[in-house]
Amino acid sequence: MLPVSYYIALSAILFSIGALGVLIRRNAIIIFMSVELMLNAANLAFVAFARSYESLSGQVFVFFIMTVAAAEVAVGLALIVAIFRSKHNIDVDQMSSLKG
């Protein structure tokens, strides 16, 4: 069994890539995917810790995160569809009506 830190490091890298995706890309769908990637990174850390502490709670939390992610994707994609209908675009930089 490899040390947990390996997995944590991997998890951190994946998380950072996801975060960069959110920050760099303008395509709303890809931003979403990046969010999913971040969630996955977190899941990986959970499972690694679950293994290391021999506690199933970590795995159960992954299960819950998956559920939340599913719900989030459903609502988020619905939002994107709704926005696309009114704006005919999914570029997040076009949606700036909150500008002060």
């Binding site: 069994m1 490899l2 040390p3 947990v4 830190s5 997995y7 944590i8 490091a9 991997l10 951190a12 890298i13 994946l14 998380f15 950072s16 890539i17 975060a19 960069l20 995706g21 920050l23 760099i24 890309r25 303008r26 395509n27 769908i29 890809i30 979403f32 995917m33 990046s34 999913e36 990637l37 996955n40 899941n43 990986l44 499972v47 679950a50 293994r51 290391s52 021999e54 199933l56 709670s57 795995q59 159960v60 992954v62 819950f64 998956m66 559920t67 939340v68 599913a70 719900a71 994707v73 459903a74 609502v75 994609l77 619905a78 994107i80 569809v81 709704a82 696309f84 570029d91 930089d93």
Partner: protein
């Protein structure tokens, strides 16, 4: 030990590569496919870490259901690629610097504290099996489990309401 390490590195490289592929693809469809690859490698990690049930769920739910949904929406909207219009020119470099910074920070923490977190070499019988997960879920986490069901219901209704066309438009 070494086989473990080789396997780990092999999968980790694929995983990071797929993530980066997702990040830099122009086409959203490619991004999605890269992401699926990433999810599958992560599922393999789960398997290695003794989470058989979670691994299967990962493939079924993420790689299967969620990503298919993504692809559906991409196709539906026909928004694979966006036009060239850089609005915030300074954001991209700053973000990359920060991202690297974050990785460096986390790695520094992880590498300096390696010895603290020990790992058990052997696992109890049935760890991460559907039966054990089920027991934990329905005994210890019953109420959260029920709450997530409500959450899913709300998400479903929300999705339906949001995507419904106005009666006047129809």
């Amino acid at each position: 030990m070494t086989t473990d390490l080789i396997l780990f590195l092999f999968l980790a490289i694929i995983s990071v590569a797929a993530a980066l592929g997702m990040l830099f693809s122009r086409n959203a469809v490619y991004s999605a496919l890269y992401l699926i690859v990433n999810f599958v490698t992560v599922a393999l990690f789960y398997l290695i870490l003794g989470g058989a049930f979670i691994a299967v769920s990962q493939v079924a739910v993420y790689a299967g259901a969620i990503m298919v949904l993504f692809l559906f929406v991409i196709m539906l909207l026909g928004a694979e690629e966006l036009g060239q219009s850089q609005t915030l020119s300074w954001q991209r470099p700053l973000a990359i610097v920060l991202g690297v910074g974050l990785v460096a920070e986390i790695l520094s923490v992880v590498l300096t504290q390696t010895g603290v977190i020990a790992s058990a070499s052997s696992l109890p019988e049935g760890f991460g099996s559907p039966a054990s997960i089920g027991n934990t879920l329905f005994l210890q986490y019953l109420l959260p489990f029920e709450v997530t069901s409500v959450l899913l219901l709300v998400a479903m209704i929300g999705a339906i309401v949001l995507t419904q066309r106005n009666k006047k438009d129809a």
